[in-house]
């Protein structure tokens, strides 16, 4: 009982001193809570479906950010991991494995794909790396068509088992995995590994000079990113009940880049927020089907024109500012820093 009381007090303290002091953290808390509570108040299967797909793409977008945003390994073929996760899960499911096993196993296959891509790409940087990665899902697409007996060819593998027969349970499975995955990715970027990822992006030579094996860390970034993208792919395959060539299409790779750039790269929460804005927005644009893509493009271009760092960092910078002394973020209205009491003016 005392232990429970201790933990409750600790949670309350963290909430009061760390979360409720910053609008961005309040928004994240509200996001977590609302995602968990939505099915209790909304019963619309279409709305739930959109949220499920949005959550899947949120994992996918955040995984791109982990690799390309944080480590600077620009990947224009991220659909490879998604597709490998989807096909991996589908093939195993076809052979009788249940989805709770196929999704993590599919993600592990995507990790292997991360190694396959990562190793030859280690020597490449910038544009060369981006263009090389672009080729990998196209190569895999060729393999998919070359072995229709295994992959289903142009049809893909259909008739996969559902995540659950209940839409609400499916929602909770996907949303909980999304929240945990995104939290894990955010935690990774906030850890020592994340700092090294950051440093590799900024100045790889300096990191090497510090005695850090950058090759290992870049491979680690490819594998971690592949794992989370693979999880997204597996969830997608089981939710859609099909893993087809569309999971490997170039459009899928570019979509994730758009989400990340729109939301703000090297943040994790930026791409997640962007997906939760852009996917429902695209659905809303169904009201004007002829102009749907045009309106989507207009919104993206407008945001990038006026907020080149991404929409969400721009909003955050409007309501919060960094302390010039201790670099801790404070509400923009504060006169002194909440931690070091430095003058914020």
């Amino acid at each position: 009982m005392n232990l429970l009381r201790y933990y409750l007090r600790k949670v309350f303290t963290v909430l009061r001193n760390e979360v409720l002091v910053l609008p961005s953290r309040i928004v994240v808390l509200l996001f977590f809570l609302s995602m968990l509570l939505i099915p209790l108040v909304v019963d619309d299967p279409y709305f739930i479906r959109i949220l499920v797909l949005t959550s899947i793409f949120a994992i996918f977008a955040a995984s791109w950010d982990l690799l390309s945003g944080f480590t600077g390994q620009i990947n224009f073929g991220h659909a490879l991991f998604f597709g490998v996760g989807a096909y991996g899960s589908a093939i195993m499911n076809q052979h009788g494995l249940p989805h709770w096993a196929t999704i993590p196993l599919g993600a592990l296959v995507a990790v292997a794909a991360g190694l396959v891509v990562g190793v030859p790409c280690l020597r490449l940087r910038g544009t060369y790396l981006a263009l090389t990665t672009l080729a990998f899902p196209i190569i895999l697409l060729g393999i998919v068509f070359a072995f229709p007996g295994l992959t289903g060819g142009e049809l893909g593998i259909s008739g996969l088992t559902r995540l659950s027969t209940s839409r609400t349970v499916t929602y909770y499975i996907v949303v909980v995995i999304m929240l945990l995955s995104c939290a894990a990715m955010w935690k990774i970027t906030d850890s020592k590994i994340g700092i090294i990822f950051h440093a590799i992006r900024e100045d790889e030579l300096a990191v090497k000079a510090a005695g850090i094996n950058t090759t290992l860390y870049k491979l680690l970034a490819f594998c971690l990113s592949g794992f989370f993208a693979g999880i997204a792919g597996g969830l997608y395959a089981h939710f859609m009940r099909i893993a087809g060539p569309s999971t490997l299409e170039v459009q899928m790779s570019f979509q994730v880049v758009i989400y990340s750039v729109f939301g703000g790269i090297a943040t994790i929460w930026g791409p997640v927020g962007a997906v939760f804005i852009l996917v429902p927005l695209m659905e809303f644009f169904r009201l004007w089907p002829e102009f749907r893509t045009l309106m989507f493009a207009f919104v993206v271009i407008l945001i990038l024109l006026y907020m080149p760092g991404g929409l969400l960092p721009w909003i955050r910078n409007k309501v919060e500012e960094e302390c010039p002394r201790c670099k801790i973020r404070n509400l923009v209205t504060r006169r002194v820093c909440r931690v070091c009491a430095a003058d914020m003016r």
Binding site: L53, L155, I242
Partner: protein, 438 residues
Amino acid sequence: MKTVRSLIIISLVCVLALAVGVPAWGKDTIKIGVIGPMQFVQGKGHWNGAVMAMEEINAAGGVNVGGKKMKIELVQADSNEFLNVTDATNAMELLMTRHRVDFVVGGFRTEAVLAMQDIAMEYEKIFFGAGAAHPELCLRVAQDYDTYKYFFRAAPFNSNFLVRTSFLHLQFVAGILKSQLDLPNIKVAIVAEKAMWADPMVTASEGVIPKFGMEVAGVWRPSPVATDVTAELSAIQRSGAHVIFTIFSSSVGIPFARQAGELKIPAVQVGINVEAQKDGFWEATQGQGNYIFTLNTYARGVEQTELTLPFVNKYVERFGETPTYTADTYSAIRYSLVPAIENAGTLDSDKLVEVIRDQVVKTPTGTIKYMKDEQGRYLHELTWGPGYLLGLGVQWQDGKMAGVWPNKWKAAPEAPEITYKGIVDYKIPPWVVEAYKK
């Protein structure tokens, strides 16, 4: 005062009850969802066909459902399936849950239709597929009837039959060349766009053509979006091919036809050229696409059944173009769904499935009868063959798309000849005649 207030409250409750209750007992329309890539010609065909069916049925007073006349209401859903399969499934879910449609017609890309099929089946709504030709869609019906029984193919007949029909066209043209130009040994150049879907067709062609007593002169695989194919055409000319068997679904069909016409390649073209199925082909090839032969569903002036011309003429008048096979949403609604509803006297999907699967109906493209597989299981697959659906062979003749096949075609040596009304003779291009006439 108290009485007045009570009266107001009672009235408000009554109004509210009416407002909520009317949709339940006052439903006087049958909602049909039309799903397809609406920004593309295929989706426009889906929509146009459905609109024509709705207009005709509603003008005639609506559908008689167990003694009650109900009008048809269409709901359009853009599946965007060429670009995004997820979008297609969202559109289907939207039809099912927001618009609460009673039936769905449409779909084009097989991968998307498979995913959409699952959603429609989950809601137990009858879905007429009018675009995807892959047999898998109907195999699912046979394999898991309880789940997939609500799916019916409306158009086209499945891809195995499409290939079979193309080979019949090849034999037909080769026969004419043999008899008119006295060519004993016909050489065939197989030209297929470099796309995955064409691979099995190329393999099949290489295997089957020698069995028809012809020789394969070679296989050429231009890019689906090639704009210059003169190298391939020169090589084909050098190979001595008399016939070019085309397998094109993309834009390469236009430069291939145009440049072959410009170079006066002494070989006739037959097979599948999707661009040549469109009314704009003549302009796109600047008239050089003359004599190109392709598989098609409709041609102006050709009568597969007595229903064809009224449909085609009205469609042309209404939309300014010849219908494509995705416009067979018209037949699905007008001739398959509505008669079934009137016979069953209900909108209940399970009861309607039992009627539709066994009904034989005449449509503008032929007679529709749903097949069973070898084990006697319901497939909900269109029957191909004489008396049912055959498709057409069309040839561009001086700016017009003319129907040229079936023309005195026999399914078997002892079978009766089949020639549709409006079919004209196939014409060998004059430069081919000049090249080979002895």
